[in-house]
Symmetry: C2
Subunit: 283 residues, 2 copies
């Protein structure tokens, strides 16, 4: 479970660590970035924000272009940037699509062959990775963890939060896939990772289905750009999540940001708001 | 002189324009990014900060990873991110080195064949590009312009400022090549673009040589990371510039930032300080 540190980079008064470790659940080496604010120490461990990236990304995109570190440094929060899938399992077809397989793990544990072999990003992100991090880095406070993410990673953040009441102090998302069972990206991924068991397996990883079952209230912050082509194409469906929230009496605030697209220019613009949202619950 | 806008991207309440235009001095199409803060209009034009990028970069690196836009939006400043050389001149050997030719124009007008053909980044940045921008974009105030840059672009910022008293309201630099005549990068570039006329041509593009001749005082802000390998290898030589400033009684403040490297993680950390430095003089 120990990490190899391949680079230590000074950033915003803290440091960005480039890490690699062997994962049991994915059976591969997994890479990630970890930002430690300058104030973090074993005697004053920092709370932790997980940032889950979207399709085609790795743990580098958010660390290089998301600009979470500026706000995280200010609030003394550590940020974890995991990869989006196992790499190098050599499953046939794994690298053929941008929206399935490599770079598209969807934060689920695949049950259908051949992806059930190592596409276990749900277990990796909720269990194996935090356990490994919190035992290796005493500068992290494993009892105070929040989660956010973008697009496929927004779906990941919402579903991991909703499936694990109490595990994460807060959740927010940028342009999340909010109702994957009803959009092309989600249908392709769930069909490939789960097969056609929509009632149980699909619904168990669909934020719009999960929200009504969540015990207690929620305070979910979501930003979506009105110029986002994937939003326009019906891949994100935040309205379905809003509708479910309204029916169930849960708190979901979707901010439709005028003219913003799906890129890191959108994410970086609102990154500070999402760090602040997490900070409220991490303090 | 008119620009083609290939993308308009919402960012920090303003917009990032991806532009292309035909340059007479380089004889090629040149690409760049332009950030317009949300407040900029023809009746309230924004002052302008040029950001000159370093070796191997294009106008995209700073726009995506430098994080100048956050601070520029706050101060109502536009930011121009030009390319670092002409592209596609098909000069033999042009693409062979990372530190000469493509991506390495050094912000000089080459006088030596074959680079004298179109490697005219000095004229392009000081004259042709601003003229074209200020006639095409009425949201820009061409009478209030500052300049900054990184590494080779830090050299560019310093020399363009020092060679053109009054043209730029202020200058700052990140890890600039401060005395190119005395470092391997500069010697290779100047030898290739100028030949061996060190006394005139080299000195005319060397910040350490130019500083004492600048009329009036200066207030130059420079950040250099103490963990920067290029600094350690003697490519940057900020001490030589400091020494020249001391002798000439000019203002140069070099901040040696503990442990920082040469990357955009370093630049993004201090970008806000440099925008603020420019803002003092642009208001």
């Amino acid at each position: 479970m120990s990490f190899e540190t391949t680079a230590t980079i000074a950033n915003f008064g803290g440091k960005l660590l480039k890490l690699a470790h062997q994962s049991k659940v994915t059976t591969t080496q997994m890479k990630l970035n970890l930002f430690l604010p300058g104030t973090a120490s074993s005697s004053k461990p920092a709370p932790v924000l997980f940032y889950l990236a979207g399709l085609t990304c790795t743990g580098d995109n958010g660390a290089e272009k998301g600009f979470f570190q500026a706000a995280a440094a200010k609030h003394n929060i550590a940020v974890v940037y995991p990869d989006t899938s196992p790499r190098g399992l050599n499953i046939q077809g794994e690298d053929e699509s941008y929206d399935f397989g490599s770079g598209a793990g969807f934060y689920v544990d695949a049950t259908k062959d051949p992806y059930s072999k190592g596409y276990k990003m749900y277990s990796y992100i909720t269990d194996e990775l935090p356990s490994a991090l919190f035992s290796s880095f005493k500068e992290l406070d494993g009892s105070r963890v929040s989660i956010t993410g973008h697009s496929m990673g927004g779906h990941g953040a919402l579903t991991l939060f909703l499936k694990n009441p109490g595990k994460y102090k807060s959740v927010s998302a940028f342009a999340p896939i909010s109702n994957p069972s009803n959009c092309p990206w989600g249908q392709k991924a769930f069909g490939g990772y789960f097969g056609e068991d929509k009632k149980d397996q699909w619904a168990a990883h669909d934020a719009t289905e999960l929200l009504p079952k969540f015990p207690g209230d929620t305070d979910i912050l979501i930003d979506v750009g009105t110029g986002d082509n994937f939003y326009k194409q019906g891949q994100l469906l935040p309205e379905n999540l809003e509708e479910a929230a309204k029916k169930a009496g849960k708190g979901v605030k979707v901010r439709y940001q005028d003219g913003y697209d799906h890129s890191y220019f959108f994410i970086s613009t609102f990154a500070a708001d999402h760090v602040e949202h997490a900070a409220k619950y991490l303090k």
